[in-house]
């Protein structure tokens, strides 16, 4: 249960960006998992690879988040803004993200190798008892960081101008543009912020488990499940959905073999689409 909460928080952090990018641009980013992997790989490269002078994992994690933000900025300015200008169709954009994802995953594989590797620091820790549950201290840190990041995102969305702009654009792009919001700037901010959060999610996942080149793709399916369960395009929905999916897939291991964990997430996803396609926090929209 506690481990499910941990996975859920990581999922929530990583999928906020996915949901917001969909919300403001209508793009389903199948390469979002690669943003997650990117964060974990940068942190690994800086803290444990031995290629560059090693720095503490915390500093490496912060740098990885910054690098992730830059990566998101590059995504938007180099690739997606020109494509949007050219009014590419939804389907071709999806194909672009899938191709990008395949390309990045294989590039990571060449650079990093196929073996899963843990970070050097905090590899072996004994669990501490906290009342009914026992947790490794690093998982507690992961959960705390995740919760703080989510709280920060929530505050940003509620209180700042930029955050209000994001919600406005996600709500209705044309209305937002008409009321004087610079839509392109908001979209860029969403890419930068979303990619930074995805990188943070990757670092956190790498700390609790291991760093692998296809960790992002594995998480992507869970992230899609979270985002759809919570409501495509809503930031808070992604948070709620992430925590629920994390809990559901971990709690199911009481009855089912852990091998079927990801199957449970898919069952939740299909169930959610059947019963409530707009998600828990989504708005009902007429589609057909």
């Amino acid at each position: 249960m506690a481990d499910g909460l941990r996975l859920g928080l990581v999922l929530a952090v990583a999928s906020v960006g996915l949901s917001l990018i969909f919300g403001v641009t209508g793009l389903t980013n199948f390469a979002h998992g690669e943003l997650v992997t990117f964060g974990a790989l940068v942190a690994y490269f800086l803290s444990a690879s031995g290629v560059v002078p090693e720095i503490p994992l915390v500093a490496a994690g912060i740098l990885a988040v910054v690098a992730g933000a830059g990566f998101g900025w590059a995504h938007e300015t180099i690739l997606f803004r020109p494509l949007r200008r050219r009014k590419s169709g939804n389907v071709s954009l999806i194909v672009v993200t899938i191709g990008l994802g395949l390309f990045l995953r294989n590039a990571y594989l060449i650079l990093f190798g196929g073996r899963p590797r843990p970070f050097d620091e905090f590899t072996i820790q004994t669990a501490v008892d906290l009342g009914p549950v026992s947790l490794r201290p690093k998982d507690l840190v992961v959960m705390a960081v995740g919760a703080c990041a989510l709280l920060g995102v929530g505050l940003m969305l509620q209180r700042t101008r930029l955050g209000r702009g994001m919600r406005a654009v996600a709500d209705s792009r044309d209305l937002a543009a008409a009321s004087g919001i610079d839509v392109d700037r908001v979209i860029l901010a969403v890419w930068v912020g979303g990619a930074a959060l995805a990188a943070l999610g990757g670092v956190l996942q790498g700390v609790s488990e291991t760093v692998e080149t296809d960790m992002g793709f594995g998480l992507l399916l869970l992230m899609f499940a979270s985002v759809i369960l919570g409501g495509l395009g809503t930031a808070y929905g992604a948070m709620v959905g992430g925590v629920l999916i994390g809990l559901a897939s971990q709690v199911s291991t009481y009855w089912l073999s852990p091998k079927y964990r990801i199957g449970v997430a898919l069952a939740v996803l299909i169930g959610a689409i059947l019963v409530r396609p707009q998600g828990i926090l989504g708005r009902r929209e007429r589609v057909g």
Binding site: L266, P277, V287
Partner: protein
């Protein structure tokens, strides 16, 4: 390096059973993507359930014909599972559920033990003995020099290409029928089709299931040709190879998938053989001629 051998091997691959299986895969995808506009990113899952349906049934002691039937039923069920929740919604949902569903199914099949129904990472082998027992061709080599098939390969190839011909004719007839006209109108403008009173959801579901069943036969051919099924044959990349074949040959064209498959396999095997030859001839410095294990299985 003997360029004649490389070309001959490439031709053999493209007109062999694998070329036919890819043609069938692309024909199914053509119905989905080319004619109906469905964005199916888990096409490889249909191949997987077709192959596993047959293999598991025979492995559990069922007759071969029942295995084929189980494979087809499994593909129909998978089509319903993918389609029922998502086809009423935006295209993104089908794309997400198919890509996730295919990968989850593969993970679940892969995670079984050796003694489980699917054989886990070991897969299932030697289930198509009945099929090869019915081989009408006497033992021997058929063809010319390097371009020869054994009687087993020839038998699979003949059955596979017959299926391709059948599926192509079926698709031409279907697409020319009123049913096919509705499919194309859905591809062009879903709302317009709906405003004319067509049940768009039902048409899309029928298209998804029909194309899936065609792909299931492709999966059976691949499985029978190798006499084995293995979960890692059905990586998500397989779906995109099918898209490559389809787009190479021409989306929404009658013979496009067939042509695409033949050209694709020719180019693939030719490049493979040529590079291998170039490496062993020492033209490419620093490369080892070790055969990558996954190149063929994707």
């Amino acid at each position: 390096m003997d360029i004649v051998i490389v070309v001959a091997d490439a031709v053999r691959a493209s007109v062999g059973p694998l070329g036919a299986a890819y043609a069938l895969t692309a024909i199914g995808l053509n119905l989905h993507y080319g004619y109906t506009g469905l964005l199916n990113f888990g096409h490889v899952a249909f191949l997987m359930v077709g192959a596993y349906g047959t293999a598991v049934t025979v492995d559990q002691g069922g007759p071969f014909w029942l295995g084929i039937l189980v494979g087809v039923i499994a593909a129909i069920l998978l089509g319903l599972l993918f389609g029922l929740p998502t086809l009423r919604l935006r295209v993104d949902y089908l794309a997400i559920v198919t890509i996730a569903g295919g990968e989850v199914l593969r993970t679940v099949i892969r995670s079984g033990d050796k003694d489980s129904l699917t054989g886990g990472v070991f897969g299932i082998t030697q289930f198509a003995t009945t099929f090869f027992g019915a081989n009408p061709f006497p033992e021997g080599e058929y063809g010319w020099g390097r371009l020869a098939f054994t009687e087993r390969q020839l038998w699979v190839a003949v059955v596979a290409w017959s299926l391709v011909a059948l599926a192509t004719i079926l698709l031409v007839l279907l697409v020319r029928s009123p049913w096919g006209r509705v499919l194309r109108s859905i591809r062009e403008d879903e709302d317009a089709a709906r405003s004319l009173g067509k049940n768009v959801f039902a048409y899309k579901l029928q298209s998804l299931v029909t194309g899936g069943v065609i792909a299931a036969f492709a999966g059976m051919i691949i499985a029978i040709e190798r006499q084995s099924v293995h979960p890692d044959t059905y990586l998500p990349a397989g779906t995109f190879l099918a898209y490559a074949v389809l787009i190479l040959g021409g989306t929404a064209s009658r013979l496009g998938p067939v042509l695409g498959a033949v050209v694709y396999w020719f180019l693939f095997e030719f490049t493979d053989g040529f590079l291998r030859g170039a490496i062993s001839a020492g033209w490419i410095p620093g490369a080892s001629s070790r055969r990558p294990t996954s190149a063929r299985s994707e």
